[in-house]
Symmetry: C2
Subunit: 362 residues, 2 copies
């Protein structure tokens, strides 16, 4: 092709004019994808909607995914079961919800004193995490396509009274789930399992003493600051919890390479959008919460240290009794140590300097 | 559809059997995408390769993008010019390389004491950054599809002697580019423009006193630790520099909605992969560098404070003389303040606790 001709082609966007119409080999598919999240968690459920929108758009409507909020098709905590049984092809969920079946699931979302959101993505994509988790998930007939969302480090929750010492945890009725509840039990906390909509009245009546949810943007909607004003951080049990798109293994294996790549890329785009929304919107929400009376508090260092020690015991107990857990833990714990040792050098130093500079600058 | 029939459909992955073959409306396209990065920066150039691979796979080869390392089609720092002129349809680059045309470009990659990688993605996707930058880029005939890579916070570089006071910067011949060079000039540094391959001999001979490149994984390949052992952090001029995929505006506008969505999702997937690789691989590289004799050093606080002050002057000067710069700066600086104020609460506290816990745990 002459340079002149090439330039003319390039200027029209590289379209090869007169190329023959191509008969697509891609099958027409419609999938339903229930989510574990309600519509009012618009960042988390929004990831499911983004996946649905992008897959449908990228394929010109040939591969259509419909996203369904928790409860529309199946209850939010039964997404895995529905995908496993093949009653739906796909689901968007947080794998630690299935921690009761096996604590190993939690590595796919977040474990106490675990990875931040970047470290979690790095472990999954480049640290061996994806292969290990998918090997584990295979016996549940599901394939984890990839991370499709993350909240960033969560807040520690809303407390009716201050936590000044480790002893203040004794007898504390704290709404929190999964591994964190088991760890905190070691320190005398009485974990409470309460659905999102029931937390506010329970806090108001004093039936519970404290509750964790997500972070400012999501917490604000539920109004906790009106009934439990101490807003603690960090949520050490969820330093970077990720959500995932899971697909029934037969459905996954039936896909063409085109459609598999489309699902992977859609997950990554949904992840970027979800993280961006939280990182952009939590700031303003926190300001409003503080203006409304919320009092920010960091967990005292001795409390953090005691919780870290209790978590180490929790890992050791699970390693001792669960070979699947231990197999993944051994890879994960090495990654955690190395990755965090690197982050503490330039990344954390930059972040900490900027935090203090912004405080001084206003 | 009966439940029985639905379940049978679902079990085959939702494929609607017997659906007619569909004649695709998607045009056949071949694009060339030069990169600003050489092949040995396999994480950064890898993003271009990932985009090419995913776009080609997702479209079953109908939309083919070929990625070309710096120098193959155009020199690395002329990617924007080639896309602007339409000699190529797309490019993968870091927009701050075009800072000489207008410092406003730098907001699309990184500016001194700017955003970390998550904050940059949040500003672009949810803080108004994408619209502002694309309005600015339109006069260069290019459209920024999205962030397709990031290095994370970079290191401050390799120094032949220690930097203990602000005075130690005076007369320092430092290989560094763009805005950082202008800021450091205010403190007496003499910025040097030297291509990657020439840095090592210049440091060895003492023609220059210091050089910054990226971080452990990339720096290790160039062997700087052998000739300048002090490895400083943080690289405050690149707290989260992102790379972008840019497309000639006519080429972009000629794309179908399907192909536009495919490019966006491919960028997000390349970004996730790039960040994951750096976050997973820098740790081991840093260990090897230290074993090889590199001495880790944090810039002293007074040096950081002086650089921050000089950066604030640099922003003020550009705001005063460049209305395009000011328009974007005004949005950006508000975002920086709010976003960092939020990060310092739970995210930085979690990271800092984990860093100290890992140090104690070993």
């Amino acid at each position: 092709m002459s340079r002149r001709k090439f330039l003319s082609t390039a200027a029209t966007g590289g379209v090869i004019l007169g190329a023959p119409a191509i008969v697509s080999a891609q099958p027409t598919i419609r999938w339903r994808m229930p989510s574990s999240f309600p519509k009012n968690l618009d960042t988390l459920f929004g990831s499911a909607e983004t996946i649905a929108k992008y897959v449908t758009t990228m394929t010109g409507g040939k591969f259509t995914i419909s996203a369904h909020a928790a409860g529309e098709i199946v209850p939010g905590l039964q997404v895995l079961d529905a995908v496993q049984a093949g009653t739906v092809e796909a689901g968007q969920t947080a794998m630690y919800y299935y921690f009761g079946k096996d604590p190993t699931f939690a590595f796919d979302t977040s474990v106490p004193f675990g990875l931040n959101c970047r470290q979690q993505q790095a472990w999954v994509m480049d640290g061996g995490g994806a292969a290990l988790m998918n090997e584990f998930l295979r016996e549940y007939n599901v394939h984890n396509v990839g991370i499709c969302g993350n909240t960033g480090a969560q807040m520690g929750g809303w407390f009716r009274k201050e936590i000044n010492t480790v002893d203040d945890l004794k007898g504390l009725k704290f709404r929190c789930g999964g591994p964190a509840g088991q760890v905190l039990t070691k320190l005398g906390v009485v974990p409470q399992q309460i659905a999102g909509g029931d937390i506010y009245p329970s806090l108001e009546k004093g039936t519970i003493d404290a509750a964790e949810w997500v972070g400012p943007y999501d917490d604000e909607k539920l109004g906790f600051y009106k009934v439990a004003k101490y807003y603690y951080y960090p949520g050490w049990w969820e330093g970077g919890p990720s959500t995932n798109m899971i697909v029934n293994i037969k459905a996954w294996e039936s896909l063409t390479p085109e459609y598999k790549a489309i699902l992977q890329a859609a997950c990554s785009h949904a992840y970027a959008e979800c993280m961006a929304k939280y990182d952009a919107r939590n700031a303003a929400a926190l300001k409003r919460l503080i203006a409304g009376g919320a009092i920010l508090k960091a967990f005292p260092r001795p409390v953090m240290d005691a919780c870290f020690k209790a978590s180490e015991e929790w890992f050791a107990e699970n390693n001792a009794k669960n070979p699947k857990f231990k197999k993944i833990h051994d890879n994960w714990v090495k990654f955690r140590s190395e990755s965090i040792s690197w982050f503490r050098v330039t990344e954390n130093t930059f972040d900490d300097f900027m935090a203090s500079a912004m405080t001084r600058r206003g």
